[in-house]
Amino acid sequence: MTALRQVGGYILIGLYAIQGGRNTATIAWKELRTYFASPGAYIVAAVFLAVTGVLFVNSISGTFAEASVRGFLEPTALFVVPVLAPILSMRLLAEEQKLGTMELLLTSPVRDYQVVIGKFIASYIILILTISLTFFFVFLLVWKGDPDMGPILSGYLGFVLYTGAALSVGILASSLSSNQIVAAIVGFGIILILILLGQASELVTGLFSTILEEASVLEHFNDFSRGVIDTWHLVYYLTTIATFLFLTVRSLESRRWR
């Protein structure tokens, strides 16, 4: 009897998961369509490709230039991503608040976290597609040079994780304001602080320095671009993404209480 009840419980949980997945997928799908239907994402992608192109050319122009992606992924991570991620995510929740559709979304039989995760997935897909445009540079490297594929793959893995963390910050910022521009600037600010923690760690010593360094969102990317995949860095990025998404859900909830 208890076994039967247990099985029933699992089936119920499974059904909830399917329904939950469905809601998340519906929201993700709607966001993806919005991205593709509006010119914004294409413009962002074009500018991104142009800027990374300059950084790529720069990275292979030196006298002892190496055939690797590290040379342009690292400056991209430092200078481009803090702007790119908030711009891609600024619309997600800010616009819902401005249009009033947030009220509709949150009074539909959908959980708050399904809304947040759905939107994160959609923007992450767009972000990964944008990043994948730079595979063109990899193709050039393979064609004209003889790059080591290991660090390229690990570099891209780290880069995607790092931008995912930046994106989750952008979504949190988007939940804080109904103004997209404000959301983008706040997101940029938080990402910048998370990067600068690494710089600040060099100014102090001991445990405090270690803490700052480990907290910095960019420091964990460096090992990836050198070709090292450390579980600790994976855990760091996944935890960071989860934390900021969780904070976003709480931020949505707090809107209801006001």
């Binding site: 239907a37 249009l99 009220e103 509709l104 009074t107 539909s108």
Partner: protein
């Protein structure tokens, strides 16, 4: 047979900081009823609607939709509800069809039923020629219809419409009201409005809310009668009951006096008069002239009247 209530609201209180937006609001709505939520701007209508739909939790009190608590059994309650917030929530970059499809989908409708119901609601809301138009290009009136269309898409038992006729032109107002009236035959409807004729035109029952409190709850006809027939003045007087009653009844225009005894020889007298006569001065004069103690005088139905005065009693004209 008494219809069972599908919406139960008990002692609802909501504070914004220290400011009570609504306090101790209780009412029920029966199945198939159209309930009007009437009050001047800022009376707490939208706050109540937001709590009913589970968007905001109340500070105190309980709301049950079809028996489900909107806070603890939120999803079950939400499934049975269609909601049109005050600012019509539309994605301006979607087509009407795309928008309805998305709304149906997040409410767990199957693809087939979305297709079927989209056709239905497009007919009901007369959106026929605009299904593939971007919502951003529609006029205010049509956007309102799209808003109603999404609210009824999933055939909810309960429809909650917050100021559904605000900001649209008079012809569309008439159409929208007829639409709501028609919907009332199949759904339980709660609409909020600050326009007096609107509730008389649509609703079977009215809840009047003012400064966060329910001041009256009745059918539109009874309310109108109560308001027009008489005005009441309440006085606390210390003096011989019979003589005071006689003196008050002797005042020109007084239709009746009821007495509720207080302590130490005082009593509360409720004096009813015709609405067009102001007897307040005469009441005070009579009491004072006889040498009785006038402890308190208050105009009872004035509060209700004042609220009505603040309501929009005229139809918006073009």
């Amino acid at each position: 047979m008494a219809a069972e209530p599908v919406i139960e609201v008990e002692n609802l209180t909501k504070y914004y900081g220290n400011f009570p937006a609504i306090s101790d609001v209780s009412f029920t709505v029966d199945k198939g009823e159209i309930l009007g939520f009437l009050g001047p701007n800022g009376a707490g209508k939208s706050t109540t609607m937001k709590i009913l739909t589970g968007y905001m939790p109340p500070t105190e009190g309980v709301v049950r939709i079809a028996g489900y608590d909107v806070v603890s059994q939120s999803l079950e309650a939400r499934k049975r509800m269609g909601y049109l917030p005050e600012t019509v929530p539309l994605y301006t970059d979607m087509t009407v069809r795309g928008y309805l499809g998305f709304m149906g989908s997040i409410r767990g409708m199957s693809r087939d039923s979305i297709r079927r119901r989209t056709g239905d609601v497009v007919d009901i809301c007369r959106l026929g020629d605009y299904t593939d138009t971007l919502i951003g290009k529609l006029s205010k009136g049509f956007r309102q219809r799209v808003g109603i269309a999404q609210a009824i898409l999933h055939e909810p038992d309960i429809l909650i419409l917050d100021e559904p006729t605000i900001g649209i032109d008079p012809i569309q107002v008439v159409e929208t009201r007829q639409l709501i009236k028609d919907l009332g035959t199949e759904h339980t409807v709660v609409i909020s409005t600050h326009i007096l004729p609107e509730v008389s035109a649509i609703c079977q029952r009215v809840v009047i809310i003012h400064e966060g409190e329910i001041v009256a709850m009745d059918s539109p006809e009874n309310l109108a009668e109560r308001l027009q027939a008489s005005a009441q003045v309440v006085v606390d007087v210390r003096g011989p009951k019979e003589k005071v009653t006689a003196a008050l009844q002797g005042i020109d225009g007084v239709q009746g006096v009821t007495v509720t005894p207080l302590e130490r020889g005082a009593a509360t007298y409720t004096v009813t008069s015709g609405r067009d006569q102001d007897i307040r001065e005469e009441v005070a004069r009579q009491v004072v002239q006889q040498g009785w103690g006038l402890l308190r005088q208050e105009s009872l139905s004035m509060s209700l009247e004042e609220i009505f005065l603040r309501l929009t009693t005229e139809e918006p004209s073009s």
